[in-house]
């Protein structure tokens, strides 16, 4: 057996000993990494095998044996997702995401998987999906053992207008959890770069968890360009649409703002079919980026706007659409949708906003509305197997159909 991609891809645990204490919300713990830790009691077969395996392979084998793979929850081009159990305690369920070998990256792992592992193993927060461990299986497939979140995602709650009813208090609770997750990422210098309702999964107790770190990266050093082709189009901020190569955590905040808007409207606020249309929608729904409201914007590489210039929309516009969240809520939304990223609110300042303390108080997580039935499970499978950063084909179609019938957007 050749050296497994897993051991290749991960820094060794000795180097990890200095891993920051800060990255773990629960700081009392021995190892903050996702590297395999041998099973407590290696069983007989493992012991027999051990003669033929080197240490890293042995560890990998032990890690693998800790879980039993169950039924398939979903299959995609990028990964398959299985339900799994912990061998020693079958009542504990996990989601096992098996990354398919990608034709484009036959030499190594797909960058999505690397990104996901790299960042998830460092982030430990109640509102971020937990990566329990990583191991490789026989054909050198990479397996991610993730927290199993059975209640679907925010998108199904938003879309199911017929059966799911929620109010401002619920929106506030969900936004609180989302903002905390984003804040935690940013405090740990990680850009998520794909925040959208179907990456917000719901745990059995109602806690919302940010998932899919396939596009995440750590904050860039100065003079080192990043790609601007990230974040699902509907949630992509203007600086990325204009092709910026050096951006900040403000890109995630824009997405958070649009998720907020979507939670209130129960439909995507700016759902463009192409990038040009997306810019157009931002101009109409937020305001046209100009030199006045965003000094220097015309110098961005792909700055293109139509001739029709809409001034930045005022509070009355937002009040008409989002007035249900109250004055403070509208204020917070407007601050997340400021065109100039330097003036946009930060995740930390979002949490300091007075809205959280206004009435109504956020709903407690166990009282949050949830979707009944087995749909959640399927949806989790679908969410985890998806390739990051794309709009669901089938979702776009539905929006188009709605348009045809003149229904609410």
């Amino acid at each position: 057996m050749a050296v497994s991609p897993l051991v290749d891809g991960l820094p060794n645990p000795a180097a990890r000993a200095v891993s920051s204490p800060l990255k773990n919300a629960a700081s009392a713990q021995a190892s903050s990494n996702g590297t395999p830790v041998p099973a407590v009691a290696p069983n007989a077969t493992a012991a027999v095998q051990s003669a033929a395996l080197d240490l890293s392979e042995q560890m990998n084998e032990d890690e693998k044996r800790k879980y039993i793979k169950g039924k398939k929850l979903g299959e995609g081009t990028y990964a398959n997702v299985y339900l799994g159990q912990v061998r020693n305690d079958p009542s504990q369920l996990v989601a096992m995401k098996k990354i398919k070998i990608n034709k484009e990256y036959t030499e190594g792992m797909s960058p999505d998987a690397v990104r996901e592992i790299k960042h998830l193993q460092e982030l430990d927060h109640p509102n971020i999906i937990k990566l329990h461990t990583v191991f490789s299986s026989k054909d050198q497939n990479l397996n991610l053992v993730l927290e199993f979140l059975p209640l679907g995602d925010l998108e199904i709650l938003i879309k199911d207008t017929a059966n799911v009813h929620y109010g401002v208090a619920d929106t506030k609770a969900w936004m609180g959890m989302l903002t905390r997750a984003v804040w935690f990422c940013h405090e740990n210098f990680v850009l998520h770069r794909d925040i959208k309702p179907n990456n917000l999964l719901i745990a059995a107790d109602g806690e919302v968890k940010l998932a899919d770190f396939g596009l995440a990266r750590s904050f860039s050093d100065p003079y080192r360009p990043m790609t601007s082709n990230v974040i699902t189009r509907w949630y992509r901020p203007p600086e990325l649409l204009f092709g910026a190569r050096h951006y900040s955590a403000a890109v995630d905040v824009w997405s958070v703002g649009l998720v907020f808007a979507e939670l209130v409207m129960r439909a995507p606020y700016l759902a463009g079919n192409t990038e040009l249309e997306q810019i157009e929608l931002i101009c109409k729904g937020v305001g046209t980026p100009t030199e006045e409201n965003w000094p220097g914007v015309t110098k961005l590489p792909e700055y293109t706007i139509s001739n029709q210039i809409t001034p930045v929309l005022g509070k009355d516009h937002y009040n008409a659409l989002f007035g249900t969240v109250g004055n403070e809520g509208v204020d917070l939304l407007m601050k997340t949708l400021i065109l100039d990223p330097r003036k946009r609110i930060t995740a930390r300042d979002m949490l300091k906003h007075p809205w959280w303390h206004k009435d109504p108080k956020p709903t407690r997580k166990k009282e949050l509305p949830r979707k009944s039935g087995g749909e959640g499970e399927e949806k989790v499978g679908a969410d985890l197997k998806r390739r990051p950063g794309v709009v669901d084909e089938d979702r776009t179609n539905k929006v188009a159909r709605k348009l045809d019938f003149g229904g609410p957007l």
Binding site: Q29, L93, D124, A204, P222, H246, P362
Partner: protein, 350 residues
């Protein structure tokens, strides 16, 4: 009597009493006009009946019909007086007006003394307006207007704040009211129950006797009574203090989820001099799309000091690690979203 009152109001409006039966202007009497109402105008506080007001002012502003009064009044300004004593009415109006302008609260002052001095000044001004001579009144009036002009923004801010405080107070009161009402109802219900229990006592004793239970009638009664007391005690014990669930509900919301990530071992300054970073601060391709040098600096500082917080002995001693969310048993499916999947302390490199 009325005539005298009228003359006195003309010369000294602060001594006027609202007439009750005869209109001082048209001399109509209540005896013939049972629905007579007297109106005043805060310009001069001269009372007249609503019919006079209609007759005189309907067609536009006119002079006050009182002989010695030269004020021009408008229909719009007339209203019913709240107080019978018009001098009180006038004083209250003035105080309202002054309070709307001088609306600072104690929080706006550094010391109690400052606040008290301010209150004293306001009261002096009010007094001059209410019962000063013409000269004093004019001066106070000018002072009031000047202050209002100068502190417009502050006044507006205080007024807004005051409204919020008032709304909060009203809400609190309503809540307290509702709670006490609920308590009263609860008490009533309890009493009712106790009475019912009491009433069944006799019947139960009779039934027990009929069943032929052991002991005398007195003993049986004693037994049943003891049993009842116990039940009542149980009922009462159930309702002591809020339940765990209620306590959880009443906890204040913490947007940060009880997590503090501010660095404790070093401080981040606003600027660090570094010529390598300067272009990143000024170059358009960094500046315009919002690239934040501060984020970079924060990260560099973090990475430089990250090792400071690590105590290997402590970490090794750390027990089993529990992470993620453990869902309540009853939640959706009976499974645990995550738990202590990895045991610590047996790291081969540890």
């Amino acid at each position: 009597m009325s005539r005298k009152a009228v003359t006195s109001t003309v010369t000294q409006p602060s001594n006027a009493i609202l007439p009750s039966d005869i209109c001082p202007v048209c001399k109509r009497v209540r005896y013939l006009n049972t629905d007579m109402r007297f109106l005043i105008n805060p310009e001069c506080y001269h009372a007249m009946c609503s019919q006079c007001v209609d007759n005189i002012f309907k067609s536009g502003p006119a002079q006050c019909p009182y002989v010695s009064c030269s004020k021009t009044l408008r229909l719009r300004g007339f209203r019913e007086a709240w107080f019978g004593d018009l001098s009180v009415e006038r004083e209250v109006d003035i105080r309202k007006r002054v309070a709307a302008v001088f609306n600072n609260t104690q929080d706006d002052f550094e010391t109690l003394r400052d606040f008290n001095n301010y209150l004293q000044d306001v009261e002096d001004l009010t007094f001059a307006l209410v019962s000063g001579t013409d000269e004093e009144r004019r001066k106070a009036e000018a002072q009031l207007v000047a202050y209002e002009e100068k502190n417009k923004a502050d006044i507006d801010r205080n007024r807004k704040k005051g409204r919020e405080v008032e709304a909060a107070r009203k809400k609190r009161e309503a809540e307290a009211e509702a709670a006490s009402k609920a308590r009263r109802l609860e008490e009533q219900r309890e009493e009712e129950e106790a009475r019912k229990e009491e009433a069944t006592l006799n019947r139960e004793v009779m039934e027990a006797l009929a069943r032929g239970e052991a002991g005398t009638a007195a003993q049986i009664q004693e037994r049943i009574l003891a049993h009842k007391r116990q039940r009542i005690a149980q009922l009462n014990a159930k309702r002591t203090g809020p339940t765990e669930d209620e306590e959880d509900r009443n906890k204040p919301y913490d947007p940060f989820g009880a997590t503090d990530l501010d660095p404790t071992r070093y401080q981040i300054h606003d600027t660090y001099e570094n010529s390598w970073l300067d272009p990143a601060r000024t170059r358009d391709d960094h500046r315009v799309p919002g690239y934040s040098v501060q984020e970079y600096v924060t990260r560099a500082m973090f990475e430089a000091f990250a090792g400071l917080g690590v105590d290997i002995d402590e970490e090794k001693a750390g027990a089993q690690r529990a992470v993620g969310t453990v869902g309540p048993k009853h939640a959706a499916q009976a499974n645990v979203t995550s738990g202590a999947l990895r045991k610590a302390g047996d790291d081969v490199f540890g």
